[in-house]
């Protein structure tokens, strides 16, 4: 044995040692890797299409374990595109960023905000572009923002910030009250959901045709939940719904119409 050890070339012995260690550690590493990915401590490999879109340097950085640095650099680059109103370039930059770090909700929120709010606002204002093209692009960016928000929610099911941003796109740009109500309702119960989400779900449901009764029941439940919910907007919406739904006077809330400046009592 000693003679064999002395006669064998050292590189061969090292290779044998590496192979034995490799055989022992490979299953353990694979098991640990899966557990690390499942617990969100390790990022899954970037998607194939993201790899194809990356520049050589970005790819090398990603291969070298510099994903966070590469994505931070791309966010900077995207900010420059935002400053220059280069929406297509911004969209491409974020396609890579969100693929590199799919579990960072800030990236999803930002791309939805950039495309759904900024790019659409730019299309509303930029008179250098023909009107039909502005309308087409406005819809394209708004719908793309919705699609990206849904992808982000699929990756981060508990994310409140992506949903809040999505609700803003539906509310401010697409003027879709039913969808806005649905998104606010989805927010309810999430760990970082704002307290107003449940009320907002009711307000927008009240504007969604055919859902007035549902909105009334929802808001009334909130009203009877406690004093903390007796805010002016909730009382006004309930009172409006009471009239619209012709609720008997005896069942109506006793709270008077809030005396707000600029608000005329109907």
């Amino acid at each position: 044995m000693k003679a064999l050890f002395q006669k064998s070339p050292r590189w061969l012995l090292v290779l044998v040692g590496l192979a034995i260690f490799g055989i022992v550690r490979a299953p353990f590493e694979e098991h640990t890797r899966k557990k690390l990915v499942d617990s969100h401590l390790l990022l899954p490999p970037p998607a194939q299409d993201a790899i194809q879109q990356m520049s050589q340097s970005a790819l090398m950085g990603t291969l070298g374990g510099l994903r966070t640095l590469v994505s931070s650099y791309l966010v900077l680059e995207a900010f420059e595109h935002f400053s220059n109103k280069e929406w297509e370039e911004l969209r491409s930059a974020y396609a890579i960023v969100t693929s590199l770090e799919p579990r960072d909700e800030n990236h999803w929120r930002d791309v939805v905000w950039h495309l759904g709010i900024n790019a659409t606002a730019n299309m509303q204002l930029d008179e250098t572009i023909p009107e039909f093209e502005r309308k087409r692009r406005f819809n394209e960016y708004a719908l793309l923002a919705v699609e990206l928000a849904e992808q982000g929610i699929a990756q981060n099911p508990d994310s409140a910030v992506i949903r809040q941003q999505l609700a803003e796109v539906y509310r401010e740009k697409l003027k879709d009250d039913c969808a806005t109500a649905r998104v606010y309702q989805d927010l309810v119960g999430l760990p970082e959901a704002p307290q107003y989400a449940e009320r907002f779900a009711g307000y927008f449901l009240a504007k969604c045709p055919g859902h007035e009764q549902e909105a009334y029941d929802h808001l009334l439940r909130l009203y009877y939940e406690g004093e903390h919910n007796h805010v002016a907007s909730l009382i006004i919406t309930i009172k409006d719904l009471e009239k619209q739904l012709e609720i008997p006077r005896s069942l109506r809330i006793t709270e008077p119409y809030p005396d707000l400046p600029g608000l005329t009592q109907p």
């Binding site: 050292r10 590189w11 012995l13 090292v14 290779l15 040692g17 590496l18 192979a19 260690f21 490799g22 055989i23 550690r25 490979a26 353990f28 590493e29 640990t32 890797r33 557990k35 690390l36 617990s39 969100h40 401590l41 390790l42 990022l43 490999p45 970037p46 194939q48 790899i51 090398m60 291969l63 070298g64 374990g65 510099l66 994903r67 966070t68 640095l69 994505s71 931070s72 966010v75 900077l76 900010f79 770090e101 579990r103 960072d104 800030n106 929120r109 930002d110 905000w113 950039h114 910030v161 970082e192 704002p194 307290q195 107003y196």
Partner: protein, 304 residues
Amino acid sequence: MSDSKTTLQSPARSVPLFSISRVWTLAISTLTQLIRMKTFYFLFAFAVLLLVIGNFNFASSPAQALSTIKKVSFGAMDLFAWLFAIVATALLIPRDIEDRTLYTILSKPVRRIEYLLGKLGGVLIVIGISLSVMFLVCAGMIQWQEMGYIADEVSASPNGISDETRQAILLIEKNGFHSDLAVAALASFMKAAVVASVTILLSTFASSSLFTIIVSVLVFLVGHAHTMATNFWLAETDNNMVVQMLLKLFKIIIPNFQIFSFSEGIVQGAALVPALIWQMTGLTGAYLVVFLLLSLLTFVDKEF
């Protein structure tokens, strides 16, 4: 008959097979050697990078700004740690040969394993100190920014803290500093330790530092693309049998550095799983022991 007295020499003191104090002495001398190479100057560059990122007003929200500071600083820490592990380890043995320090050390009762362990220990001490300093600088920067953003939110609502303000503060705190980030720095240390052990093995074979550095960087890059490369090749070759065999061989020989990148998840706010952190610590220990023993295999009877 001569009556001259012969004086007997006392027997030489036996040298213990392994001595921690000798390893420690070698580690401290390696630390001094690396300090003289002005390695800690990198910390100034790191501090400047943090200041630039901290004052760069590009983020859409305070949460995004804090998240970026964390990512850039921990990314830079990780980059520094593995790059330093490769370069410093690759330089040490050739420099000892060049300075003839190696001959002086090995002519004394120092075992070769002690020498290798001392060198590796010295590199790891430098990396440990650097990561600790960078972590403290980074923690200070994040907390300072976080306090500033919270103060801004509070001052923006003079009529008491509203729901929205409370929500914004929660979001800032979520993306701000938390003690788990120390484990992210530890993860970078683990990765650097494994990289250093691989480099020390390569440097016992190599004829020059440059060769060791280049091969180590290549092994690191390839080891980092483990999962990505295997998935890609299997998909491209339609699960070809030969490719599968080659990939198995590749997985066995090349260390999987990707799994040591779990600092990225911690920086992004993933909750720690202590059992997994212990497993990774154990794996790092195993890599260090095995690669040191393999290095010894080559180094034990190497002629200089």
